[in-house]
Each structure stands twice: as C-alpha cells, then as structure tokens.
Amino acid sequence: MSQAVLLVVAQTMVLLALSPFIVGLIRKVKARLQCRRGASVFQPYADLAKLFKKQPVVSTTTSWIFTATPYILFASTLAAGLLVPVFVSQTPLNFAGNIIALVYLLALGTFFLMLAGLDAGSAFGGMGSSREAIVASLTEPAAILSIFAIALTTGSTNLSTIVHKTALLQGIDTAPSPHLMALAALFIVTIAETGRVPVDNPATHLELTMIHEAMILEYSGRYLALVEWASGIRLLVFLTLIVNVFAPWGIATTLTPVAFGVGLGVYILKVAGMAVLIGVIESMFAKLRLFRVTDLLGVAFILALLGVLFFYILRG
C-alpha cells in the first residue's frame, strides 16, 4: 500500500517537474535551428513562477466555468498522466482505468477548455473553441483506433500490461506492421492534440491561425499558469505514451532502487529525444491551412484503421 502511494507521489513529481523542461527544450531546439541563441531551457519554470505571483484578472461577464476550468484541466491532465507508465512499468492508478480512460480524461480537459473559450464571450475565444472542436473530434477516432491496434497485438487495453509485455518481449509474435501504422497515427494525433506546428502554432498570437492560444486568450495570472502547465503535462503524457508503448526498453520492470534509477534516466533521455524531434519537425514544416488539417487527420485515421486491419490480415 505504502509502495503504491510512493509511486503516485514519485510519478506526479516527475510529470510536474519535467513538463516545463520539455517545453523549454523544444523552444531551444527551434531557436538553435533558426540561428538564434534562444532562452534557457529552464525559462518556462521562471514563466510559471512569475505567472503564479501575478494577480489574475477575470472578466465580469464570465460564469463559474471560466474560473473552474484551469483546475479541472490541470487535475484531469495530471490524472491522465498517472494512468501512463512513466519510468516504472506499473502505473500508480492501475486499478482505476485503462487506455480508454486516458483518452477521455484528456478529452474532458479539452471539453472544459472549449467551454471556457466560449464563456468570456470574446470573438477570438469562440473562434478558438470552434477550431479546437474540429481538431479534437477528428483526432479522437484516430487516437482510439491506433490504441486498439496496439491493444490487439498485446491482448490487453491496460497500458501497464502492454508496456510490461513489450519491455520483456513477451507475446510479441505478431507482424511489425500494425505497430508501425499505429505509431505513425499516434504521432500525428500527438502533434494535433498538443497544438504543435503543422496543425497549430504555439509561438504565435496571430488571429487568423491560432487555435489553442485563442481559447486561453482571456486567462491571466495563476489561471494562465495552470493552463500552460497543464498543456505542458499533456505534451509530456503524449510523448511518454509514444516512447513507452513503442520502445519501452530500459523501463523499470521490477521495484528495486537500481531499476528505478535506470528507468528514470532512460525515460528522460527518450522523452528529450522526442522533444528534439518535435522541435526539428516544427522547424521543417509550414503550418497547414485550417481546412487542410482535416486531410492530415484523415491520414492519421486511415493509418490507425490500417493498423487494426493488418492485425487481422497478417495474423496467419
């Protein structure tokens, strides 16, 4: 019992502490690729600290949804993070839910963020919410299907079981094709869900293009800090999902301090590698026009569908 509590605390600390670093690292990589020196990778920590100290300004036209949303978003994203194996193949909230719960916990945060965008009654907030609704409704089937493709090959929807089996190479006798398709689909979903470049640009406040930034335009002070932190954790959760489901080697499969240390080190390296990859992708591609985003997400959906199909067709 005490072990479980310890695991919850440890994983929460890792997620909270690491997420601003990942955001900072992506910014740094982009800056270096643009021949700028860029801010330190620890800048997001300072930003968050500053925002927490500032007084929030809340519009008089807003309802309780506006002030409740940052807390709901933060809590649901963190809870989703506790359903993913981070550096130990056992998840703290193993009893509470599987991979489907993970997707819908993240969707719950998105839903409230969309409501909050509409709540303030500003034109930009509504526009951002409407765009986010398009993106979210198209990524959800792709995310669920790609996850089913993985769940089929390991015979379980429990993330802990999936990661544990893959890490020990147990029962992985199926063809590599479903995994590859699911990986590609999940990567596109990650980019769309976390608002990275081909879909949304996190570094701009240009009215015509922003999606996520438009929704949170009315937030300030500690509310903004919570929303920013939650979106950092969300990014980290998706990256963790990708590295640990598709390449879990190095993760701690036993509960010993040595395995913990190795697992944590390997995990940070892998996630940092993914962050660098995302930074490179953001520098290489131009943002898609909003109406072309459906093409990209259509591709993600089809890839995930093919992953599921290949599982059945290549089983023989």
């Binding site: 094709s177 459906t294 093409d295 259509g298 089809i302 199909l309 067709i313 290549l314």
Partner: protein, 219 residues
C-alpha cells in the same frame, strides 16, 4: 524461424506499398505524387527481391531489376518532364475531396481483405498477407483514376494499379513467367509514352490537362 521472420518482412514491405498508396491519394502536389510512386516501386522491387531470395526463384530478380529501371528511374523522369512542360504543380479541384477519398480507400482496403480472406489459407506461407494488400492497391489505383481530374494523376493511378497487379502475381504465384513480365513492362513503358503525348495534345487543345474538358468535344 528464418522463413517466419522473412514472411514478416515481406508483410511489412507489402504494408509499406499500401501506405504509399494512401499517401498518393492524400497528396495534391503532382511532383510529390510522382516521387511517391517511385518510392512505392522501390518498396515493390525490394519485396520482390526478398521473395526471390527466400524462395530461390531467380527470374523474380530480373523482374525486380526491371522494376527499378523502368518504374523508379525512367517513368518518373518522363512524368516530371511532362509536369514541367505543362506547368501544372497542384491539383486543386478533384471529383472527390481528400478526406472522403481517404475514407473510401479505407473501405476499399477492407473490401479487398474481406474478399481475399477465404483464399489466404490456400496461398504460399511466405506471401499469405500480400494477396489482400495487392487487391487493395489495385482498387485504390482504380479509385485514384476516377477521383482525379488531371491526366498526370490518372496515369499515376494506372501505374499504381500495375504495381498492385505485380505484387498480386508475386504473392499468388511467385511471379509470372518472365516473358509475360517483359511484355507487361514494355506495355507500361509504351503506354507512358503515349500518355505523355496525349497530355501534350490535351494541353495544346484546351490549355489544361483536366480530362473533364474532353466532354466539350461534343459541341
């Protein structure tokens, strides 16, 4: 163990072939479509060479080499020349838009898998998975010919169909007799040359390679 592993790699090669099909359906830029077709042909040649290696049937090597020469080097070059001369880079209007097209192609792939399901236990162990994929590629190539309006992309659809047939022949019978393969390659090459000239004539007559313009001939 080796044959099991080999079968997995053959499956993976076929899966990549199907993947490039979907990429062609989703791609609007004509030159990128040509590149994707060349990439698909590379995967096809690699898969065929692997089948040849694992079965020891030598004439598949020749077919694979011909695929590299004709479909990876010669045909993309001809198509690029045509695109350059016609001065068209993008296909903006299609008969079926991209997301719908992708969904239809997903349905076609499911249909192909469903149809070939009873045949799969009868096939060779090595290429069991490839037959359904080959049929899916043929259907998607056919769909591309229907969905697109530009002559160049219709040709790519035709070539994709041909790739699917080649994969199907390799999967179901470890390749056709060499003389048949040679005939098919020659046909494809000549067909390409004719289509190149046809696209030029179309451009000269209508100032566009949009084949839907051809109906105006009636007047």
């Amino acid at each position: 163990m080796l044959s099991h592993f080999g079968a997995q790699i053959v499956d993976l090669g076929s899966a990549l072939l199907l993947l490039t099909c979907f990429a062609i359906v989703a791609q609007r830029r004509l030159s990128a479509c040509v590149d994707l077709f060349a990439l698909q042909s590379v995967f096809l040649a690699a898969t065929a060479a692997l089948v040849a290696f694992l079965t020891g049937i030598h004439h598949i090597y020749i077919a694979a080499a011909l695929t590299i020469i004709i479909k990876v080097l010669v045909i993309p070059r001809i198509l690029k020349k045509v695109i350059e001369r016609l001065n068209v880079t993008r296909e903006l209007v299609m008969n079926v838009n991209v997301p719908t097209g992708l969904l239809i192609c997903g349905g076609l792939a499911m249909l192909a898998f469903f149809i070939t399901q009873p045949l799969i236990p009868l096939g060779f162990q090595l290429t069991q998975g490839s037959l359904g994929i080959a049929l899916a590629i043929v259907l998607i190539g056919f769909f591309t010919m229907i969905a697109r309006k530009k002559a160049v992309t219709q040709v790519i659809g035709f070539l994709v169909m041909e790739n699917g047939l080649f994969l199907g022949a390799t999967a179901s019978a470890y390749g056709m007799p060499l003389i048949v393969e040679l005939g098919v390659f020659f046909d494809v090459l000549v067909g390409m040359l004719i289509v190149g000239i046809y696209a030029h004539r179309l451009q000269d007559a209508f100032d566009s390679v949009d084949t839907s313009q051809l109906t105006t001939l009636k007047e």
